[in-house]
Structures are given as structure tokens and as C-alpha cells.
Amino acid sequence: MQYTTDVRIIRLMCTGRVDPPMLADAFMKGADGVMVVGCHFGDCHYITGNYQGKIKVGLASRTLDYVGLNPRRVSFSQCSSAEGERFVNMVSAFDQTIRELGPLGNAERVALPELKDKLAIAKTVLSREKIRWVVGKFTEFTTTGNKYGERFTEHEMWRTLDTIIMDEVATYEILRELENAPASAKEMAAKLKLPPPHVLKYVLALQRRGFVGLAEIDGTSPRYQIVDPMAKEEAA
């Protein structure tokens, strides 16, 4: 049983401990692939921890995919402590995948220096309360249902999470821009390659939440700035 020397193992108690920002963090720091390996479903030492792990890794990979990472760089696999052979096969197969993809940035939609910025945004999004709250409710909403007894399908939950990823990424990109200097919606739209009306909507929503305010009016276009110190903290 021999496998590639390119893999480093970080021990966690359970895949349930995998916090989505950790994956973003690993890619930000230069990993080319991340494997999360846990117990088989139904045979988890921590009962249901691996189900949570799967949801969290799924969320991380969707978010990273959205910001430009090739999602094949993230894998969630299962293997018991008695399945050495299986582990070796899994690691070798994943190694092969990563070799095909090449180093980070090679098989991505976004090129490298920019990709790191995007990954940083993804890490922020994954650490923030909105997405964590909803993903934390995933199991409850798909099994026992919400307060009104409505049960959602996994499909619906993922769709909801996908739209949150979209909103949150845009929101934190805007906050990061405003962190640097006050800017107008048009300027940010050009920089973030988003349609200006969308940027305006996100800015207005931020304004409504009290994070962003008017800085100045430059000709006909208003420039916005961060007004709430809490928002600065969020953007950081």
C-alpha cells in the first residue's frame, strides 16, 4: 500500500468539525486540492457528524465554485479505519485528478492573483452568519421541517443556498471595495464585472441595513461609503 507523497493529513475528530472557511483558507494558502475523508454514512463514530460534514463540504465547494475555483479540487469521500486499500485508491484517484488539473489557477475560470482575492471573499462569506445560519438549518428543514411544518427538499435547500452564495459574494465584494475608498455603483460594477443595477440593489440593501451611507455626490452619481463600524469589521 503506497500512495503519493504529495498529500498531508490534518487530523480532526470528525468530518463534522470541518468548517467551510477552512477549505477556502487551504486554497488561499496555496493548496491544489482538499480531500475530506470521514466515516461511512450510518457507521459514523459520531453518529451523524458525517452528514453535517457532507453538507458543509458541499456548501464550501459550491461557494468556491461560484468564485471561480474548479470544484473537482474538493472531494468528500468515505472510508473506514479498516479500509486501508480503499483509502489508498481514493488518495491516488484524487491525486490523479489534481495532476490533470495542474496547480491552482491552471484549470480555473479566474486567473491566479485575482483568484486569491476571490477565495478570500469566499472565506469571508463562509464565516458569516447568514450562510452559516441557513446551512445550520439544512438538516432540520429537510427532515422535521420548519416552524410551520413545511419540509423542504434538499434540492430546494441547495437552490436557496446558491442564491445566498450569489448575494453574499456580491455584498462582501462591494463592502471590500468600499473599505478601500468611497465609490459609486457604476465604478464598483465596472470593477466587479457585475451589472450596475445589481450593484445598486446590493448597495441599497446594505444602506437599508445601515452599513453603507452616502459619501458625496459626484456630478450626478452618488458615492457610497461604509458608515457602520460593525460593517467595517464584517468587511475585514
Binding site: 500500500m1 503506497q2 500512495y3 507523497t5 504529495d6 498531508r8 493529513i9 490534518i10 487530523r11 480532526l12 475528530m13 470528525c14 463534522g16 468539525r17 470541518v18 468548517d19 467551510p20 472557511p21 477552512m22 483558507d25 487551504a26 494558502k29 496555496g30 493548496a31 457507521d43 463514530h45 459520531y46 453518529i47 451523524t48 457528524g49 453535517q52 458543509k56 489508498v88 496547480p103 464565516s127 458569516r128 452568519e129 447568514k130 452559516r132 445560519w133 446551512v135 445550520g136 438549518k137 438538516t139 432540520e140
Partner: protein, 561 residues
């Protein structure tokens, strides 16, 4: 303020196990260059007496406040090295282990250079994490040395007696008016042909006469709160409520026999169950010339996919009983597969054949037809229907989960399997324990079992239960969830809903609703820490910072692509 971090790294040769495949001295030299590392030592065997003494000495002499051992797997050796640190005067949780044997020398035998480079990375990662380790104190919680056994059948009584004989106070709770359970309805117990009723009675007398056992019959359980060492139980007997504390709980609630209503013209007279056949034996009312037994009635089908396992032997036992009573009576056993595991059972199976019991295999798709005076069954070798004359049909029905299982599983917060039997913590590693500490199971509550199996399981469960009972204080590894930022916690309960162990609860504090960790119940899986959107919870020795440092250390220099 901040103490100076002084890390000692011990690199193990493991004889040639590691040194044969990696350049260990190079590793040791490399470790010296790492930040905060003040002492490095290469050992032939770090786990040997001399290796251990070197660690202890180095902790004292070099004033080490973190120890990293790069050797084999923490699964076997972490406890030893932790203890070594403690003996050397260092908090055992300031120790980190790097596995360069399983993860390097064993799996990269042909790649000495790359393997050594990887080992360097792993040591660097271990050192990085070690710098952030915090001392932890073992979690202690007082142990209530009393036990409760739920269920007064053979499993429950055996378990209660075993615990009581070890000197622990036991409360045995039985919902029926008398002790004995399913045994009371049986005739003889195979393979030794013991009389079931007298076995039950003997046990019941012992239980009732035992000074350490308090028996509560006709009693139901209303509430169970708490955790290992500190359960609070509320029971009611004929409307009278009683409350008591126990440290451990054994679940021995047994099972029920399926009544095959609507199957094979079951009527309780001409077509009866094995249980009813046994009561005929007991009454001495058995007289039939031709008996047909049908196996797997209502079992191993769409509704109940499982095999009840014991019915084959019950049928064989009863067929022998018939043959021994009246050798002229014809006995056919129509089966789908026969379970006769173990030497005695196989002997009984052969003995039954010798006595003239005929075994006929039937196909689930073409089940036998029971009519007045005859049973028609398709013989798959002959390829046609056989007609068997019959004046008594006996149906072997499976044991099904007790009707209270769902209530009890809710009270105890333990899991049931798909057939509503209780689910053990792990098939192989914890067969008599629940996933939650301090709760054990045995007998039919888990899965249909013979009396023999029920007794061995009961003794096993009692033995498991007496491990915590024997301690005054429960000591648990402190690698558990902690609320590091109470102000951040909003008491939303998101983590509480996801905790597999019920180890979190929301309490009212002066600062409002906050989560509280019950460390004795926590196993440290980390789901809560990975879920908390306020990052208020973390896991000792697996904090976000420590894991982040490991990632950082891996990728910072990049010894290879």
C-alpha cells in the same frame, strides 16, 4: 505576559520501521530550525523506557512547555506520551503527535527523499499546532453509583443481579405486574431443555430477595433527564410518582411476538403460533396427528426485512418436543432458509431430521396455502405442488420491537434502527453500549436473541455499566466543545439541534439565553463549532486557529510542488 514557547521535538526511529525509509537525522536537524523549537532528540524507540525517560528529563532540564513526538499513530501511543508529559510535570494536553510512520515511512517506502520531505512538512505542521496548544484539565463529574435496569425479563433480571452482586444499588423497572417477560410464555428452553418458567421464577426470586435490588413492577417511566453519572428518573406506579437518581441505565425492554393476524388463515386454534404451541405443551393439551410449521411468517418481507433469527431453532426445538411426545405425529417444517448456528443447534437440527421431522424449502414468491385439513406447498425440486395433510398448522412469527421502544428512545435520546429495535453505538466496537455514554442495552431490545444470548449480553452490559459505576468521579478527556465567547453566543439553539449527543443546552444567564456545554456528554466531534455563525464555540485542541496554523505551516514554504 505571554510565556515563551519552548518546544521539544522527539523523532523516533522505531528501530528500522521509520529510520529504514526516512532520513531521520535529517528530520531532527530540520526540526531544530523550526520556530520555538529549543530541543530536538532522535530516539531509537521513543516509546521505550529510555525514550520516555528522555522526554521526562528534557521537560525538566530544558524547561519545555510543549512536546512534539514524531513517531507512529496516536491511536496507540498518544495516551502513553500524554502520561509521560504529565509525569514530567507538563500538562498532558500540551503534547502533539506527528505520525511519520503510518503517513510517511510505511506508505512511501520507495521514495526516501520525498518521504523525508513530507515528514519535514508534517513535523512543521505539528510544531505549528503545538505552539498554540492550551493546557486542559480533565473534566470531572461526580458519579452516582446506582443503576437502573429497564425491563424485568431474563436480560433485565440477569443484568440487575450482576450489578447488584458487584455491590451496586439497582432499581429494576418493569411495566408488567410480574417479573419474567417472554419466558413466562415459553415451555422449554433449548438446547438443554430447561423449564422456562422455573428459570424465570428462579431469577425472579433472586431479584426480589436481593438486598441491593429495588424492584418496581407495574411501573412506567415518565421522564429521564441528565447524563452519565447523573440521571434523574421519574417513574409512576399505579399513579404514584417516584423520583430517583442513577448513574447508569441498562435498557432490557425485550420484544414482542408478532401475532400473524390475516396470514395463513391464522385463527389461534387450528392455525397457531409457536408461542401458542408451547402453551399447549404446558397445558398438556397437545394432540395432533399431522403438524405443519411454516417459517418466516411476516418476516424477511417488504414490511419486515430482517430475520428474527431465533424462530428456526424454536421450530426445531418444538418439532423435537412433538416427536418425543408422540413419535407417530408427522411434522413438516416449511422453511425459506434455516438458521442453526453453533454446534448444539446444528446437532439439534440433525437430531430432528433423525427423528423424522421433514424439512421442505418453499419459495417466498409461491408461499404455502393453508386450507381446511391440508397445506399445499410448491416443491421446487419436484417442480409441482405437494399436498400435506394437517390438523395443526404452527406459524413461526418473528419477534418485533417492543411497543414502548419509541417512547423510551425519546426519553433517553438514543436511536432506534429501521425496525424500531434499539441501535447500539457501534456494531463492532460498542455492541452493548449506546452512542450516549452511561446507557447500555442487551437482549431482545437490541435484536431477537436466544435466552443464552440474552444472558451473555446482559452480563456484558452489566460489566460495561460497572466500569463507570466503579469510579467515584467520571473523568472525561477534555477534548470537548467549549463556549469561548459567551458574549457572542445569542442562544439561538442552532448547535443544540445538531448535537448528536444532546451535550448542549440553552440556559438562561444574566446575559440572556446562552448555550451551555455538558462536557461529560460531549464527545468533541465539532459539529457545533463548525456550525456556530458567531464562532462562539470551539473544540479544545482543535480550534480554528490551531487547524488554520497547520494549514498555514503546510503551505508556507512549500518544500515541494
Amino acid at each position: 505576559m505571554a510565556e515563551e514557547i519552548r518546544i521539544g521535538v522527539f523523532v523516533c526511529d522505531c528501530g528500522s520501521n521509520i529510520a529504514g525509509y526516512l532520513k531521520v537525522s535529517e528530520l531532527a536537524e530540520y526540526a531544530k530550525t523550526l520556530p520555538n523549537v529549543v530541543y530536538v532528540k532522535e530516539n531509537l524507540y521513543t516509546c521505550s523506557e529510555s525514550g520516555i525517560n528522555e522526554i521526562k528529563a528534557a521537560v525538566k532540564e530544558q524547561d519545555l512547555n510543549r512536546v512534539v513526538v514524531a513517531s507512529c499513530t496516536p491511536r496507540t501511543h498518544e495516551p502513553l506520551f500524554r502520561e509521560t508529559c504529565a509525569e514530567g510535570g507538563l500538562n498532558p494536553y500540551l503534547f502533539e503527535m506527528v505520525n511519520i510512520r503510518d503517513q510517511c515511512s510505511w506508505v512511501h517506502m520507495q521514495e526516501k527523499e520525498e518521504g523525508t520531505a513530507k515528514a519535514k512538512d508534517l513535523i512543521r505542521m505539528g510544531v505549528a499546532k503545538a505552539s498554540l496548544l492550551q493546557p486542559q484539565e480533565p473534566i470531572e463529574s461526580p458519579m452516582d453509583p446506582r443503576a437502573m435496569v429497564i425491563g424485568g425479563g431474563i436480560s433485565g433480571m440477569t443484568s440487575a443481579l450482576a450489578l447488584a452482586n458487584r455491590g451496586y444499588q439497582v432499581t429494576l423497572v418493569e411495566k408488567a405486574a410480574e417479573l419474567g417477560g417472554l419466558l413466562l410464555q415459553l415451555d422449554k428452553i433449548g438446547p438443554a431443555n430447561a423449564d422456562a418458567a422455573s428459570v424465570a421464577e428462579k431469577h425472579a426470586q433472586q431479584v426480589q430477595g436481593h438486598p441491593k435490588i429495588k424492584t418496581l413492577t407495574a411501573t412506567k417511566i415518565d421522564a429521564i433527564n441528565g447524563y452519565i453519572g447523573n440521571f434523574k428518573v421519574t417513574t409512576s406506579t399505579n399513579g404514584v410518582q417516584e423520583e430517583f437518581g442513577v448513574g447508569v441505565i441498562v435498557v432490557a425492554t425485550g420484544a414482542r411476538v408478532l401475532k400473524p393476524v390475516g396470514l395463513f388463515n391464522y385463527d389461534g386454534e387450528k392455525v397457531i403460533t409457536q408461542l401458542e404451541l408451547e402453551s399447549l405443551f404446558k397445558k398438556g393439551a397437545f394432540n395432533a396427528k399431522n403438524v405443519v410449521m411454516i417459517q418466516c411468517v411476516g418476516a424477511r418481507n417488504e414490511e419486515r426485512k430482517y430475520c428474527s433469527r431465533i424462530c428456526c431453532m424454536v421450530a426445531i426445538k418444538n418439532a423435537i418436543a412433538i416427536k418425543e411426545r408422540s413419535p407417530d405425529t408427522g411434522v413438516h417444517i416449511l422453511y425459506r432458509d434455516i438458521q442453526a448456528y453453533g454446534t448444539e443447534n446444528e446437532e439439534l437440527y440433525q437430531y430432528a431430521k433423525q427423528l423424522g421431522v421433514r424439512f421442505l424449502k418453499y419459495d417466498q414468491a409461491k408461499p404455502p396455502k393453508v386450507e381446511e385439513g391440508r397445506v399445499t406447498v410448491y416443491h421446487h425440486l419436484l417442480g409441482r405442488d405437494l399436498e400435506l395433510p394437517v390438523d395443526l398448522v404452527v406459524l413461526s412469527t418473528p419477534l418485533i420491537a417492543g411497543e414502548d421502544n419509541e417512547t423510551i428512545s425519546r426519553l433517553l435520546r438514543v436511536s432506534l434502527d429501521e425496525n424500531k429495535f434499539f441501535l447500539e453505538g457501534h456494531v463492532k466496537l460498542k455492541p452493548l453500549d449506546f452512542a450516549n455514554d452511561g446507557i447500555y442495552l442487551c437482549g431482545n431490545a437490541h435484536y431477537p436473541a436466544t435466552v443464552r444470548e440474552a444472558i451473555s449480553q446482559a452480563l456484558g452490559a452489566a460489566s460495561r455499566a460497572s466500569i463507570p459505576l466503579s469510579r467515584d468521579v467520571m473523568t472525561v478527556e477534555p477534548i470537548v466543545s467549549t463556549l469561548v465567547d459567551e458574549d457572542a453566543c445569542r442562544g439561538c439553539g442552532l448547535c443544540v439541534a445538531l448535537c448528536p449527543y444532546g451535550a448542549l443546552e440553552i440556559v438562561r444567564t444574566e446575559k440572556g439565553r446562552k448555550v451551555k456545554v455538558i462536557p461529560v456528554a460531549c464527545k468533541g466531534c465539532g459539529v457545533c463549532a463548525a456550525t456556530c455563525y458567531q464562532h462562539a464555540l470551539t473544540i479544545n485542541s482543535y480550534t480554528d486557529e490551531q487547524i488554520g496554523q497547520q494549514i498555514e505551516a503546510f503551505l508556507e514554504t512549500g518544500t515541494e510542488g
